[in-house]
């Protein structure tokens, strides 16, 4: 099985006529995903790789003839909030926000509305999620041929604050003969729809998933939140973590942001050193080297 997506998941792409969205639509269709429509205001009647384009989400739902499960949102930052509100209030329950540089206020508003309406947001500033050989929602893994090379089905759930590293890590798990149950690029911003701890219950409930790998960075409190969740929930899933950006702990790097917007360190708790200590205290194995991940997972699975 998998989390959040399955073979029958239907979704639309909001902002489908944009250059990046056109590529993403092609990739998802090639991978076997059910892209049932696209929305770009004013472009009703066009097609993108055979996918019908509508002016509104409501039109897409009407054309589909029933509820649509998800939406990949690729519209510019100034319009993202409106697009996500439109998706949520038209009954869409899973929203992947690819757009970066959205102000926090807008993200927080989208997340609060999603909570009220029972929808889940992945991102912003993410590449989406993938269930190997079944479905991908977003640009994750790239063209279908490349995605197939990096992602084979298996027992490991992957969550990563970096889109590229989601694929790098999944590929190493695939090469090691382990494979991936579902990989989620959760997004690189300070406020995101779904942090590690919020996705853990899904993995916990997924029979196929036997272990979790997370990729983390300095900045924010979501690793501490995960450590707390693990301590409070007696999870059956062993977790292996990799922390990038340790060099940011150096004195001369203080206050700088590298890589993603969310890496700004606002207090000592946000530093790599402190996060590693937190994760380890919760029984999470933090590997020093990126290439130690597969062996650490195997060790945990054998234990």
């Amino acid at each position: 099985m998998s989390i959040l997506l399955n073979r029958d998941t239907t979704f639309i792409v909001q902002g489908i006529t944009g250059r990046e969205a056109v590529n993403l639509t092609r990739e998802c269709l090639d991978y076997g995903s059910k892209v049932v429509g696209g929305v770009t205001p004013g472009r009703k009647g066009r097609e993108v790789h055979g996918v019908p384009v509508f002016d509104t989400v409501a039109q897409a739902v009407e054309h589909h003839g029933g509820p649509i499960d998800g939406s990949v949102v690729t519209v510019p930052p100034a319009f993202t909030k409106d697009a996500v509100f439109e998706a949520i209030l038209n009954g869409i329950k899973l929203i992947v926000i690819v757009t970066e540089r959205i102000p926090r206020r807008d993200v927080a508003q989208m997340v609060e509305l999603a909570e009220i309406e029972g929808a889940r947001i992945i991102g912003p500033n993410c590449l989406g999620l993938i269930v190997p050989d079944v479905c991908k929602m977003g640009g994750i893994g790239g063209p279908a041929r490349d995605a197939a090379k990096s992602y084979a089905p298996g027992p490991v759930g992957v969550m990563s604050r970096s889109g590229g590293m989601t694929t790098e890590i999944s590929s190493s798990l695939t090469q090691a003969g382990l494979g991936v149950s579902t990989a989620v690029s959760i997004g690189g911003d300070a406020i995101i729809g779904s942090a590690y701890a919020e996705l853990m219950p899904y993995f916990e409930a997924d029979e196929e998933t036997q272990a979790i790998v997370i990729y983390t960075e300095p900045g924010g409190r979501m690793e501490a939140q995960l450590a707390q969740w693990v301590a409070a929930n007696d999870s059956r899933l062993p977790i292996v973590a990799f922390m990038a950006g340790k060099f940011m702990d150096d004195e001369e790097m203080k206050g700088m942001s590298f890589g993603h917007a969310g890496t700004i360190v606002e207090g000592v708790e946000d530093t790599a050193t402190e996060k590693i200590a937190r994760l380890e205290a919760a029984g999470i194995r933090v590997v020093e080297r990126i290439d130690e991940i597969p062996a650490a997972v195997k060790e945990k699975l054998a234990a």
Partner: protein, 440 residues
């Protein structure tokens, strides 16, 4: 009255039982926040309808004298720099007469604090304070809501109060979607035990602070101290504000019209290096793909032409952990043109002390391997360097890799695919540069 040096963004609530000390963040370099001078923060607070003392922002000693005359009575003169530690540095002085105020202003206006010359001075009355409070709003990234903080122990560092007197710090979240109701502020204040007219006077102030935080896209809105004067009225004696950079574009009315901050006044705390400026210029010249370069804090011999966001963090660590000395940090993202990849590689190669470059990324799906390969080889050739000697390692697996590897073969550049980990690739680059140093 106490003059407070606001030392830090007390950024997030400390979860229960985690009473760790919180370091004041030093926002060096590409600060992801728009920072405000105290006189601007004061204006913002005023715009939100929060009472402030009568103050003057002055650019000359004469203006300071006039301001002191208008205020009447003893005044405080404060240096307007984007830096903490003003009091210690001699940037805050007290004056009993307008002449004394002018003399202090004269000194302070010429005083550099942490590398910054002041924009001016703030002349403030020495207020008759009965009690000092603390009020702020920050983002709580875990709850994904703004968080109000209030204390009846104002004037001192809130981190310290939170640690030593947690029962004197009230915390409360603010709704994202509804207009912010007063009761959310009232609850937060009442949690500290404050009641009576003090509660009723402070409530609208905290609620207004929360509204300005949300309306103006702040990441920090802080009043410390919020003072209760001897006549029972409340005023903001000092304020500190930071705005999210992502929102600067939609806050033009506040920034350009009301505060009259110029577009090019970006408030960076250090001057970007030549390398950083050049890379930014190359990036801006071409819309395809994104490149970034930083060398603040780096001074090694191995140039890094690396990507993407998370990949760059991982690779920089991998080089350093294997005793390599990076000359810079960089990020390649999206699908840059040959010219852009070449431009970044050239800038890195031309940095002082750079002997070789390592070209490495996590597996790419959007960036094309062959284009980056062409770009870095072109950079070597244009600088009369042998690509095989200059490029210590090329490790970019993914889209168009076969085409890329063919080009690299032609020039004898060592490359690897995904079967070689990012750690190992970084190690090979370090070994090569060190081996050469050893045999030289």
């Amino acid at each position: 009255m106490t003059i407070i040096e606001i030392s830090s963004t007390w950024a997030f609530l400390v979860p229960p039982n985690w009473n760790l000390p919180i370091l004041p963040p030093l926002r060096i370099g590409s600060a992801p926040l728009m920072r405000f001078y105290e006189f601007e923060a004061r204006q913002i607070v005023e715009l939100a309808g929060i009472p402030v003392t009568k103050y003057g922002f002055c650019k000359t000693a004469d203006e300071a004298r006039q301001a002191a005359e208008e205020i009447g009575g003893p005044v405080v003169i404060k240096s307007q720099v984007l830096s903490g530690g003003r009091m210690k540095a001699g940037g805050v002085k007290f004056a009993d007469t307008p002449d004394e105020a002018a003399a202090h202003a004269e000194d302070i206006l010429q005083l550099e604090i942490n590398g910054q010359m002041p924009r001016g001075v703030l002349v403030d009355p020495k207020a008759e304070v009965k009690q000092e409070y603390y009020a702020s709003v920050v983002w709580d990234g875990t709850a994904k809501k703004p968080l109000m903080l209030f204390s009846d122990m104002g004037g001192i560092d809130i981190e310290e109060v939170a640690e030593t007197h947690p029962d004197h710090v009230g915390k409360g979240h603010v709704t994202n979607l509804m207009p912010i109701p007063d009761f959310e502020a009232k609850q937060t204040i009442a949690a500290t035990g404050v009641t009576g007219s003090q509660l009723n006077r402070a409530t609208p102030i905290l609620a207004k602070l929360a509204r300005l935080f949300r309306d103006y896209d702040m990441t920090l809105a802080e009043i410390n101290p919020l003072a209760e004067l001897t006549d029972g009225s409340f005023v903001a004696l000092d304020a500190h504000m930071e705005m999210e950079n992502e929102a600067v574009g939609r806050q033009k009315v506040l920034l350009r019209k009301q505060l009259e901050i110029a577009e090019d006044d970006t408030r960076e705390t250090y001057e970007p290096s030549e390398f950083e400026r050049n890379v930014a210029a190359i990036d801006a010249a071409d819309h395809r793909g994104v490149i970034q370069g930083k060398d603040h804090g780096f001074s090694g011999n191995l140039g890094l032409v690396i990507g993407a966001g998370g990949g760059s963090l991982t690779l920089t660590d991998a080089v350093r952990s294997q005793n390599g000395r990076p000359a810079n940090y960089s990020e390649i993202g999206g699908n840059p043109s040959v010219a852009k990849a070449c431009g970044l590689a050239k800038e890195v190669l031309e940095k002082d002390g750079v002997e070789k470059i390592a070209v490495m990324m996590s597996i790419v799906s959007n960036t094309r391997v062959d284009i980056v390969a062409r770009g870095v080889i072109k950079a070597c050739l244009e600088l009369d360097k042998d690509p095989a000697e200059t490029i210590a390692i090329f490790r970019i697996p993914g889209a168009w890799e076969d085409e890329g590897f063919k080009i690299l073969d032609r020039y004898g550049v060592e490359y690897c695919d995904r079967s070689v980990s990012m750690w190992e690739a970084a190690g090979r680059a370090v070994a090569k540069i060190q081996g050469e140093a050893a045999s030289a």
